[in-house]
């Protein structure tokens, strides 16, 4: 398969499948199961196709004559696209019982899921600010609606409205910033802007600096960094669990993918100006996120708040990008892998045991799960350990890379704060483990449904462990080294 084919086939497949379900949904042959499986199959096939593009180093402009160099397909985007598709697939596969037991997963919801994935795929390939904005809005709009899927739930409606309003508001900053950049650089193409920045003196590019700052506000909003992330708790709580998993595990990573490209291509020159801001942002994000996570009573909200802390860790690496470019950038990639699989697993377990009910899962609801469902409890424990950065899980390796890159860049104090918030995170993550194992069962044994969902949860758990210890000494399966190489190739394919 040529790379160009992959780059075109994946978004096209997503788009056609979405439109197909949209039409098929009105036919009398449509059942929820069929819609579900068509979506799942689409994601799987698209994943298989896109996984072909991962591994070697390349970078091509897709049909530069038609698209005017707006989209670029490189190892970087190939890796991330595969990740999103896998994420969408896993979320949906784990959520089978949830989808079955609720009545708000209509055919539109599958369409929206596919559309949002389409948006993310284009977003990662976007080499140009306007394309990126459009892709970002396609993805965002779909996610807004997905949040409000459950029309009967007040919380979901509130979350939808809040997210929509704030999201659209923050998006306007992006437009303004883009305009300012265009006013000076006379282009929205990332390469052209980078060229311009490089050949112009720093003090005469005020518009670009201001514009980039405005774009950063939108980004900070989307990744829920403090102080722009006030929406995150309510929205994550209001959305139904599979959607929360999707937002935390996939959508956020898509944003980071774009930010990474933007940073490495353009922002890196302004490193000295932005570093203090990012460092401040990282510190505040970790601090407030930890505080929020500690006080939550519901596991879902705790995970939402802790996702803020994880954004903080990633910001540490962003701050280090200027001084330790390659190691910081690949640390971000690796951390995204790690967070992706752990978050999907953790939210997946919650959606698996909530069985489609609307109520928030409190710590008490997990009591005694280890006795009734030992495998699920063990899987959730593994995800918690990984999120907490406990050795032998992929989360630890991710933290290890981020902290190393921070020290390498000379920000030892930042690494120290990262470690401190990791210490606080031990409390709230181990609280889950404590409830799973040490409390007496408060509920009767229930049947949770599909073995397939369980299989995917276990699979994610195994991946988490393998990502933490995996080596070719034991089994010839890609382990830590391979993931490492993958992230390095991806970064190098951007020209670094």
């Amino acid at each position: 398969m040529s790379n160009e084919f992959i780059a075109l086939a994946v978004p096209a497949l997503l788009l056609f499948s979405a439109i197909f379900i949209l039409l098929f949904g009105f036919s009398s042959h449509y059942t929820k199961n069929r819609g579900y499986f068509i979506t799942l199959a689409t994601l799987f096939i698209a994943f298989i196709i896109s996984a072909n593009g991962v591994g070697t180093k390349y970078s091509i402009l897709i049909l530069p004559d038609i698209f005017n160099s707006m989209v670029v397909y490189d190892t970087f985007s190939a890796t991330f696209i595969s990740l999103f598709l896998l994420g969408g697939f896993l979320t949906l596969a784990i959520a089978k019982s949830f989808v079955d037991k609720t009545n708000f997963f209509t055919h539109e919801s599958f369409v929206l899921l596919l559309f949002s994935l389409f948006g993310m795929v284009v977003l990662t390939m976007a080499n140009e600010l306007l394309t990126a904005f459009i892709a970002l809005e396609i993805a965002s709009m779909s996610v807004y609606i997905l949040v409000g899927l459950n029309k009967n739930s007040l919380k979901a409606s509130e979350a939808f409205f809040k997210y929509l309003l704030l999201g659209s508001f923050s998006a306007s900053f992006y437009l303004l910033g883009m305009m300012l950049i265009y006013a000076q650089a006379k282009s929205t193409n990332l390469d052209v802007i980078a060229e311009y920045i490089l050949h112009t003196e720093l003090h005469s590019q005020l518009l670009i600096i201001a514009g980039s700052m405005l774009i950063m506000i939108t980004i900070m909003f989307k990744i829920a960094a403090v102080p722009f992330g006030a929406w995150v708790l309510d929205v994550y709580e209001g959305a139904s669990l599979p959607i929360t998993a999707y937002m935390a595990g996939v959508f956020k990573i898509a944003i980071f993918a774009f930010v990474l490209r933007l940073f490495l291509k353009d922002y890196i020159t302004f490193d000295a100006i932005y570093d203090p801001l990012i460092i401040g942002g990282a510190l505040v994000t970790m601090f407030v996120g930890s505080l929020l996570a500690v006080i939550q009573q519901s596991v879902k909200k705790m995970l939402a708040a802790s996702s803020v802390v994880h954004s903080g860790y990633i910001l540490i690496a962003f701050a280090s990008i200027g001084e330790a470019t390659s190691s910081a950038a690949s640390a971000i990639m690796f951390y995204l892998f790690a967070y992706f699989i752990s978050a999907i697993g953790a939210f997946g377990v919650l959606s698996y045991i909530s069985k489609g009910s609307d109520k928030a899962i409190n710590y008490d609801d997990l009591d005694g799960l280890a006795k009734t469902r030992p495998i699920i409890a063990a899987a959730l424990t593994i995800f918690m350990l990984s999120l907490a950065g406990f050795p032998s899980t992929i989360g630890f390796i991710g933290k290890f890379y981020i902290l190393t890159s921070a020290i390498e860049a000379g920000y030892t104090f930042l690494a120290f704060f990262g470690v401190l918030s990791a210490f606080v995170s031990i409390y709230y993550y181990f609280k889950v483990v404590m409830h799973l194992y040490f409390k007496e069962a408060g509920h009767v044994e229930v049947h949770y449904g599909y073995k397939v969902s369980l299989a995917f949860i276990v699979l994610s758990g195994v991946v988490v462990l393998w990502g933490g210890v995996g080596t070719s000494l034991l089994l010839d399966i890609p382990g830590i080294n391979a993931l490492n190489e993958l992230s390095r190739y991806s970064i190098e394919s951007l020209g670094f």
């Binding site: 050795p391 390796i397 190393t404 390498e408 404590m434 194992y437 040490f438 490492n484 190489e485």
Partner: protein
């Protein structure tokens, strides 16, 4: 795969196997016994094959995370050999003594897991690998206290967990800092002990890095003032884990000081040694006096353990071959005695359902064998001649006198404190007035005898023929002291 890897991973794999395969509890115990006996056999072979004329042996080395130079790198020398042997020996004996009391799968699975974790941490020569096992062995302890502990076990397991992880994270920062420094000075990442010791750090840097490590080790041991988790945790923890903590995990902390701090930051350690000697001496007295005031047997022995561990720390920090050999000998001797004593306490608890010293008394009248062994182990802890503890304490005190007369004097006199509470306990528990609880005290049963006799024999053997055991440590000590001389003459 070398014998060391087998020793590390056999228990862990068995634990995983037992977790997934839902066997009957009797079978679980049998599998546990088989696994620990195989490990004990392997460790015994290791001991016999161990070449008494050289230091680091049985090295196994593979690339693990190659981009960062992290390796799977294990090896054994005279000091770690002692802990490996103790770990391998105590685990089956614990099961022999306690198998009737514990009927939960989780108990045995976690014990196996902790055995593997400790083996890994002792044998690791790569800092990342060490960190992995160091953290990993926490997990089973956390579960054991939470699942099988007494009192406010949830709170206590969480407190213990947070406390020790805080230390570990401080150590992590230090490790990463050293690795990055290594990269800057030599151009590539490495976490190997042999590589990292070559880097040069400024005084401030090395002090900070040293504190990072020391917080982690100090909490594990614990030395004053990081001991506030100690008595609650020991009181709440089930006996299997108390034995692991007092006999093995705490020793691992002292061992790690020697292995990592003295290797990586030799000069800083030597400069700071006087402070830690005084902290150690203070801890020896402070924990000893606290132990005198306790009425709860487990807490008392916990504090007495801490008091002796402070002595081990002193022994390492006096930095000469007497101190080193004495301390590593004491690690083994104290592991044997404290494990045995805690086993006796567990047997006693099974019979009288109490740990309070005041509600006991007159046991010797009904259970002469129990009284004999209890008294023997209690005396061996305080270092009565012909027991292993005596040899070790004499060596440490000799070393202390060689280092400084005042410190030698303090070390020697403060050893009287443990005698105070041990004799008090013996007289109160074994003799004293008989009461309702103790009047039906059953003497040791055969499986309990089977567990304690080997320990008693070993303690005697180590007390009477110390040379046979010390000769395995000597090359390591010599290499260590030579290195120290080299630093002095630079």
């Amino acid at each position: 795969m070398s014998v060391l890897s087998a020793i590390i991973f056999l228990p862990i794999l068995t634990a995983i196997f037992l977790f997934f395969v839902n066997l009957h509890i009797t079978l679980v115990k049998i599998v546990y016994m088989i696994s620990t006996l195989v490990v004990a056999y392997l460790a015994l072979n290791l001991y016999i094959d161990f070449d008494a004329s050289s230091s680091m042996q049985f090295i196994e080395q593979h690339a693990w995370i190659s981009q960062y130079g992290i390796e799977y790198h294990v090896g054994v020398d005279g000091v770690s050999l002692g802990i490996v042997m103790m770990n391998a020996l105590l685990m089956p004996l614990v099961a022999i003594a306690l198998y009737k009391q514990r009927d939960k799968r989780g108990y045995w699975i976690n014990l196996l897991f902790v055995q593997g974790g400790i083996m890994g941490a002792v044998l690791a020569l790569d800092l990342m690998l060490f960190y992995l096992f160091w953290e990993l062995m926490l997990l089973p302890i956390f579960f054991m206290i939470g699942l099988f502990g007494y009192g406010k076990s949830n709170f206590i397991s969480m407190k213990f967990n947070m406390y020790t992880i805080f230390g570990s994270l401080m150590m992590l920062i230090s490790i990463l800092y050293m690795a990055v420094e290594h990269k800057e000075q030599f151009g590539f990442y490495s976490f190997a002990l042999d590589e990292l010791k070559n880097i040069t750090l400024t005084t401030t840097e090395s002090l900070l890095v040293f504190s990072g490590f020391m917080i982690a080790f100090g909490i594990k041991i614990p030395i004053f003032p990081f001991h506030t988790w100690l008595s609650d945790t020991y009181r709440s923890a089930p006996m299997g884990i108390v034995i692991v903590m007092s006999a093995l995990m705490a020793k691992l902390g002292t061992y790690a000081i020697w292995r990592f701090l003295f290797t990586l930051l030799n000069e800083t350690s030597q400069e700071l040694a006087p402070y830690f000697i005084w902290i150690g001496l203070f801890g020896l007295i402070y924990f000893g006096i606290s132990a005198i005031t306790q009425t709860h047997l487990k807490r008392m022995f916990a504090l007495s353990s801490a008091s002796h561990l402070s002595l081990i720390v002193v022994g390492f920090f006096i930095y000469n071959s007497y101190g080193l050999i004495g301390s590593s000998y004491f690690i083994v001797a104290h592991a044997l005695s404290s494990a045995a004593l805690f086993l006796m306490v567990a047997m006693m608890y099974e019979r009288v359902q109490t740990y309070t010293i005041d509600s006991l008394g007159g046991i010797a009248k009904f259970a002469p064998l129990f009284a004999l062994f209890f008294a023997f182990f209690a005396l061996s802890i305080v270092g009565v001649p012909f027991t292993a503890g005596f040899v070790a304490e004499v060596l440490i005190i000799l070393g202390a006198f060689e280092y400084d007369t005042l410190i030698g004097f303090f070390a020697a006199t403060s050893l009287l404190i443990p005698m105070l509470f041990m004799f008090k306990t013996i007289s109160k528990v074994l003799y004293g007035e008989t009461n309702e609880r103790t009047k039906n005290f059953q003497d040791l049963r055969s499986h309990e005898l089977l567990a304690v006799i080997p320990l008693a024999l070993l303690i005697l053997a180590m007390g009477i023929f110390p040379n046979y055991f010390i000769k395995k440590i000597e090359p390591t000590a010599k290499a260590f002291v030579d290195k120290k001389e080299a630093v002095y003459h630079e």
